[in-house]
Symmetry: C2
Subunit: 190 residues, 2 copies
Amino acid sequence: MAKQFPIANSNRHIHLSAADIETLFGAGYELTHMKDLSQPGQFACTEVLDIKGPKGVVSKVRVLGPARKQSQVEVLVADTFKLGVPAVIRDSGKLEGTPGCTLVGPCGEVELTEGVIVAARHIHMHTTDAEKFGLKDGDIVNVEVPGDRGVIFKNVLVRASDSYALEMHIDTEEGNGAGVKNGMIVSIVE
Amino acid sequence: MAKQFPIANSNRHIHLSAADIETLFGAGYELTHMKDLSQPGQFACTEVLDIKGPKGVVSKVRVLGPARKQSQVEVLVADTFKLGVPAVIRDSGKLEGTPGCTLVGPCGEVELTEGVIVAARHIHMHTTDAEKFGLKDGDIVNVEVPGDRGVIFKNVLVRASDSYALEMHIDTEEGNGAGVKNGMIVSIVE
């Protein structure tokens, strides 16, 4: 059975804790829904923030909602050079030992002691998709992208949950380097 | 026999014709050598130019020397979005049908009707390296990059000549997306 699904490029973005939203945008502030994302309940916001590192700033980075338990800043490797922080490849939510940064909002700044990551490539799957593919949450697979700039991505994490929709996520550097257009169909290979 | 060699990331850069150097920098101008590149005779210059497209500008792009027969502008896919030109993946020197741009220098501007490319991934090999590997100029191979962000690059062009040194070239989006550090050793795979 062909193990196929759409792939999408994620640009740099920021997830915020409820407390950090208030510090950056003011007491009682709520994020402004701009558009739904492919994963159920997730949305892009109209809000943007500047990310400040020891060497430089990356400006106008999109905030995604809803609020999370801990703020998380997902950047590109090129951004880590500009910011002056190490490029640490991590799964979402696994922030121990990652670099920090300063987030600059219209009403205040937040000093994060950790949370700046380059997101590890992964496939969101509903539990029923994972079962159909003979896979489970936490598995590592290889995924082939077709085309002139075709690649096989290795070390791709399977993230299976009843709250996920079937889609592979890579960042825009991985996507541009592999000629990926959002919605392109890719396949798990041996 | 292991078919191995170092790999390096190329950032956006510009090759200029002798005529375009004079238009951009003034009559009789000669490019200023900053540092040698890995390929014999090639060098980075102190000179930088702005690239102007229908939608936007990419600033301070490094010029490489020596002068070539035709100007060639090598950009990243992300740059093509900013400039507003199609991302056309091409081998160096094969510029027919590629988009143009305006180059902006300190003494003038040049309108290129073609020459803006996203460079196709390739391996420079001395003819003796190619023979040793059982390959020839124009062959297409797959190359594996090890590591957390490991990939297999498909459609990699072999460029063999007596004037080349053994090294694979990708652009910084491909490199960042694959966790490549300059000088990392990679391998041809089936």
